[in-house]
């Protein structure tokens, strides 16, 4: 599977100062990953762990107080390799919507309240290709029909649509120009379960039609189980585990991932739900060593001082945990001895 986005040792910090106090929030702190083309790449983790921040940088949409401190992001398209972080505004504008698109978090409010849906679609389409109003309306009508959305939303104002419908309209708005790469930030959060199902359905449909690559952020592993091909788990600004979604869901190795999976509601047995003790650290002053050690039941001395590196335990399965790494090495030693 060829890579379409390559992220190397990315560090992005918020530098804020209020009332003379300087604060640095290390929201993304040394992340390396490759996003394979044509798949749904899920990014999981509790809220506040840096998912949205990572996505903004991947989009090249970061602005002060968020600064990229180190590392690189490259888009590896068939026809071009693009170093995203050093793009000028014009190239970025060229990329947006036609090649790279974005479904933002909290997309309840991204539709201009005083414009009809069809006018909003026209604005977004006409910004990227030469179309008349009639042509963009036709394009919109066809696309909405293909996604199974009712035609009458076109003449409506955003406030006249239900939350779930607004979300699906926003997804259609972000994907109408068939971008290669779609970043979606919590597209199902704040929707009730039935509406969520509709949104998931529409995302699947878009993926099936266009073969687009999705980068899907959600703290909800249930949604990942439904959509994602691969899952990366983030904790406190760092990647802790990455594998195909089957492995993450069935055989997670990192203690944090295990907690996440165990805390999922299960149909068969309600009593085994475990919630993770403690709370995620503040990112302006994260703990030394493994950032998970204050909450980790397996923590050893080394965890308090040494930051564990991401290690490929198996091909396509990386974990950042001292205990896991050592256990695997022992197994290997035993096998070779």
């Amino acid at each position: 599977m060829p890579t379409i986005v390559e992220v190397k040792d990315l560090k992005a910090y918020y530098h804020t100062h209020a009332y003379g106090v300087q604060r640095t929030v290390k929201a993304v702190d040394g992340i390396t990953l490759n996003i394979p083309e044509g798949q749904v790449y899920g990014i999981a983790g509790e809220s506040g762990c840096g998912k949205s921040t990572l996505l903004k940088v991947l989009l090249g949409a970061h602005k002060p107080p968020l600064y990229v401190v180190d590392g690189s992001v490259r888009y590896l398209f068939d026809d071009a390799q693009i170093a995203t972080l050093s793009l000028d505004e014009n190239t970025l504008r060229e990329l947006r919507w036609k090649q790279v698109s974005y479904i933002p978090q909290g997309s309840m409010h991204v539709l201009n309240p005083v414009r009809r849906i069809e006018d909003i679609f026209h604005d977004f389409v006409a910004a990227h290709q030469q179309v008349s109003k009639a042509e963009s309306t036709q394009l919109t009508r066809t696309y909405l029909r293909e996604l199974g959305l009712p035609e009458k939303v076109m003449a409506a104002y955003p406030h006249q649509l239900s939350g779930g419908m607004r979300q699906r309209v926003t997804i259609a708005l972000a994907t109408i120009l068939s971008p290669k790469l779609i970043f979606a930030d919590e597209p199902t959060t704040a929707l009730d379960v039935i509406v969520q199902r509709g949104v998931i359905q529409i995302l699947k449909e878009i993926k099936r039609r266009e073969g687009s690559t999705f980068v899907l952020i959600t703290h909800d592993l249930g949604v990942h189980a439904n959509l994602a091909d691969r899952i990366a788990v983030l904790y406190a600004g760092k990647l802790v585990e990455e594998a195909d979604s089957r492995t993450i869901l069935k055989k997670p190795l990192h203690p944090y991932t295990k907690f996440l999976i165990q805390s999922l509601p299960r149909l068969d047995d309600r009593s085994t739900r475990v919630s993770i003790p403690g709370r995620p650290p503040a990112l302006d002053n994260p703990p030394d060593g493994c950032r998970f050690h204050p909450r980790c039941p397996l923590a050893v001395d080394k965890c308090r001082t040494v930051d564990p590196a991401m290690v490929a335990i198996q091909p396509g399965h990386r974990v950042a945990c001292h205990v896991v790494t050592e256990a695997t090495e022992e197994v290997r030693h035993a096998a070779t001895a």
């Binding site: 991204v110 201009n112 309240p113 604005d123």
Partner: protein
């Protein structure tokens, strides 16, 4: 039908109620005031001649009759309404036998022409400049505009007006000192030119302050819009700047801006006072000023009623136009 019944009708009723209350108060105030307008009129008439007591009583009766001050207060009130509904505001006390109606008719055009135009120009200027300056807030011209307008804004109006008058009518007599126009009124270029010349200084004095106010308001409203999710998203999707500024930002500030424009337009009859007195402009404001210093009650009442109707009507129109500017305001 529901539109008429649920949206328009209640607002029309409200408009009628406001005018009814306004008229009633206008009727009552001079009648509870310790100064008796009849005595004042009489003393003016008798200041230079001696009248016998009988003649004074006869004169008093005829004045009361003329000014609708006969009978019980309730009878007077009914008579007052009858006259108003006929559109008859009675004679002016001081310019007797000129009717208040005629005086207002002569001066209202000047006021609406000058102040109405200025309010609209200042609204457009302030709105556009304020929005642009807020959107491009780091450009040099944006800072320059903001600093100059914020400096101008707190200057009291009468000082600004006097400075303009002294500078451009007295020291550098570019513009005329008094009046509204020169020559025979008509649609001739020579006459219109004198009208524009006469209107320039008073117009400037109003536009400067009003633009500064509107600029500050537009800037505040715009900065809220710029931070909104839909503007941020439009930026991210690389919509053209022009589209973002006009359809995504300015369009969303229209509701408060149009409200304020409507109310400013409704209030021009009071606003006219200082401007017209300072620049000796022949509009409603000058008439009101003359009426006040000479205790011309009918005239004062006439202009007060005009203001009440003006403001009530403006807010009615603003109210009715809301759904047009913001689809979220339902016809309810």
């Amino acid at each position: 039908m529901t539109l008429l019944k649920e949206f328009i009708l209640p607002r029309l009723l409200q408009w009628l109620l406001v005018i009814f209350i306004g008229v009633t108060i206008t009727f009552l105030i001079p009648r509870v005031s310790p100064v008796n307008p009849i005595d004042q009129a009489l003393s003016r008439l008798t200041a230079f001649q001696n009248l016998s007591p009988e003649a004074t009583i006869a004169l008093r009766a005829s004045i009361e009759d003329l000014y609708g001050l006969q009978g019980s207060i309730f009878e007077q009130y009914i008579a007052f309404w009858k006259r108003i509904l006929r559109g008859d505001l009675g004679p002016s006390f001081t310019s007797f036998p000129m009717m208040v109606n005629d005086i207002i008719r002569k001066s209202i055009g000047w006021t609406i022409g000058l102040l109405g135009t200025c309010v609209v120009i200042a609204w457009l200027l302030g709105l556009i400049l304020g929005t642009l300056a807020s959107y491009y807030r780091n450009r040099w011209w944006s800072r320059f505009l903001e600093n100059s307008l914020i400096t101008v804004y707190p200057i009291p109006y009468y000082i600004l007006a006097f400075v303009l008058l002294m500078l451009f009518a007295y020291y550098f007599p570019i513009f005329p000192l008094v009046g509204g126009g020169r020559g025979t009124p008509g649609l001739t270029w020579t006459y219109i030119r004198t009208v524009i010349q006469h209107a320039t200084l008073p117009a400037l004095s109003i536009i400067i302050g009003a633009t500064a106010f509107r600029f500050i308001m537009a800037k505040a409203l715009t900065s809220g819009e710029i931070a909104s999710d839909y503007v941020q998203y439009a930026e991210l999707a690389a919509l053209p700047k022009r589209k973002i500024i006009f359809s995504y930002i300015m369009r969303n500030t229209m509701l408060p801006q149009v409200t304020d424009l409507g109310l400013s337009l409704g209030a021009i009859f009071e606003g006219a006072l200082i401007t017209e007195v300072v620049f000796s402009y022949p509009g409603i404001g000058s008439s009101l000023y003359n009426a006040i210093i000479s205790a011309d009650y009918n005239m004062i009442m006439g202009i007060t009623l005009l203001s009440i109707v003006g403001i009530a009507t403006a807010s009615l129109l603003v109210d009715l136009s809301y759904p047009f500017f913001d689809p979220r305001v339902r016809y309810r």
